[in-house]
Symmetry: C2
Subunit: 248 residues, 2 copies
Amino acid sequence: MEILKAGILVIGDEILSGRTHDTNSNFIAKKLNDSGISLEEIKVIKDQKTVIIKNIKSFKNKYNYVFTTGGIGPTHDDITAESISEALNLRYCFHDEAYRILENYYPKGEFNIGRKKMAKMPENAELIVNPMTVAPGFIIENIYVLPGVPEIMQKMFINVLQKIKTGTPKKTLTINTNLYESTISVDLEKIQKKYTECNIGSYPFFNYIKKTGGVNIVVSSWTLDDLSVISKEIENMISLLGGKSLIV
Amino acid sequence: MEILKAGILVIGDEILSGRTHDTNSNFIAKKLNDSGISLEEIKVIKDQKTVIIKNIKSFKNKYNYVFTTGGIGPTHDDITAESISEALNLRYCFHDEAYRILENYYPKGEFNIGRKKMAKMPENAELIVNPMTVAPGFIIENIYVLPGVPEIMQKMFINVLQKIKTGTPKKTLTINTNLYESTISVDLEKIQKKYTECNIGSYPFFNYIKKTGGVNIVVSSWTLDDLSVISKEIENMISLLGGKSLIV
């Protein structure tokens, strides 16, 4: 079974300085997961040409889909489109349709150099229409270039997702228990070792006020159609250890 | 001027599936920024030994500090400590003090294999004490290994930060304006080109309900002591373009 793989490049100094909390990668991650595309890596990098070029080159060869966010606005620090052109050895030039869309949008005489810049991208790029603030994103090879502003990025990403090849979502099942991770770890590992076609993840949670806690056990598989045998075994284990379980 | 550099490795399938929204890297990013340590890269990677090993090797050579979050619990999917041992060619073994701390914490007879696992780390690691749930993190070479649960990670990271060499924070100043990015982009670039010792970042914001928007212009520098000349020039530019500005 061939699994489609993706990587996200979050481009922006403001994320690395902590000024902006990136929410785009979590949004994209969830949607990819629901679409049966395996997100392999998220990387937050600087607004620096050499860094962007290096990462674009590496990601485009590793993954079926590369999604970038940020750095496609009108200012001097928006260098994503230019850097991607260079990474792909493509001319960085005006996209006719993007130019027309932007020219029509701004009042006559106000289509300045900064605004024109948003129509520049690698030659032969395909536009990703921006239904909110006009300035488009673009697709070149397997790279999907999206803006950083979350509300706009989300709308554009959803449009992209409707057009690309997706897969069958990973089958997933979550079992919640009031037992601690360290109580179940030995037995849970035995179950994981028995069922190699699934991944069993264990995610503790704590309520510091109530002084309680527990674990969400996530069973997931790309290949199995039915996880109920495994979940029954886990529920049984929890019960034998004196805990409660709930499929959530 | 030597600038201390850091990288963050967020280890966990649950971030890549979108199930968990990583807040740890933003927390660390802010604190590093305030401490004059330049965060160069954040990478979210899978719970996979080969992937962890490869990234640890690369990060530890690139940065003064490597911070990892996640994967140090008691379950089979917690493989950070073992993977780091392997990456550094160090024995993965019980840490005496960690063993004692954990042994004392659990009721007699309940210090099981999973719990004991949390005392295993690369040989000669130094503990990072966990004031909340006992299981420690550790320091080995320039790698700081922290848990994934945010409340615990935060407390442990703050303790770490008090012990490591920090720098002089990057001088930063933010100017807010009601003008759009595309209005100021040309003139802002001229100012950036004039002052090469600072970075000028431009971050648009939109209020979709009020249909208004503007930009936060962030001027930052590692070397300049005074940014007021630059900020005056930016304020002046905004005023000439008919906008309002406010240093925030």
